[in-house]
Amino acid sequence: MKIAVRASRTMTRRTMLGTLGVIALAAASGTLTPPRRAGAQPLGLNESLDEAMTRVFGSRSIKDGGSLIKLDIPLIAENGAVVPVSVRVDSPMTPTSYVKHIYVVADKNRIPVVTRVTLTPAAGQAFMGANIRLGETGDVRAIVEQSDGTLWQVKREVKVTVGGCGG
């Protein structure tokens, strides 16, 4: 009888610990990966620019990072399917102050958030480059999030001769 009681008590404690663990995990994943990524819902990223900005950055203010960020992208993209873009941020990369994320956002794309780069201090330099698709002429922005949460952005208009669609 006694044994049975003890067993059931252990079970309760274990289940409770398990539940707590699940909650902790959910909370952690919720805060650590803000925008739910494509893997789970491949079509969920088809949204307007405003929706995308609200989803990713909420109501946080974004400062003008003209002096800090160097966005390198052609003024005229003949082929919208392959547009080389690179972003370099003039910022130290120390464990206390570094660039945490670089976002590339194409305003006119039907899937505006092109990529999010997550950096660590080990990168030594806040730099990223990629080939992206642009649907039509419009602004392309680079948004930088520093480790203290400050957001900076620069944007540049790109003229697209032949749209890369899809994106």
Partner: protein, 110 residues
């Protein structure tokens, strides 16, 4: 495409210890575009594109890219890292169909 998943990594020919190095990497991948019907609605299916790129150096993750269909076919990425010790630099690409493509180079000092 037979070459799908082929990963190329380009590093400078000589690297000095402590130097910040820029690396270019490329994977052969179709990065399928979203298809739409006449009304512009998305045709629902699993589109095959890369949604994650993970770069590790000496076993530690240094840079990750979360990507969407707005990235070109045969995507090319570049990034920087600080070469502190000789060792492997690995780049891993994950796509939405569960594909995993990996490339690695050994960082050595001249």
């Amino acid at each position: 495409m037979a070459d799908i998943g082929k990963v190329r990594i380009r590093i400078p020919s000589s690297i000095k210890p402590g130097e910040v190095v820029q690396v270019r990497t490329l994977v052969i991948h179709p990065m399928e575009r979203i298809e739409r019907d006449r009304e512009g609605r998305i045709i629902p299916k699993t589109y095959n594109y890369i949604n994650k790129v993970i770069v590790t150096y000496l076993g530690k993750t240094i840079v990750t890219f979360d990507t969407t269909q707005s990235v070109s076919e045969n995507p090319f990425f570049s990034f920087a890292f600080k070469a502190t010790d000789p060792g492997p630099l690995r780049v891993e690409f994950l796509d939405t169909t569960g594909g995993r493509y990996e490339g690695a180079v050994d960082i050595t000092f001249a």
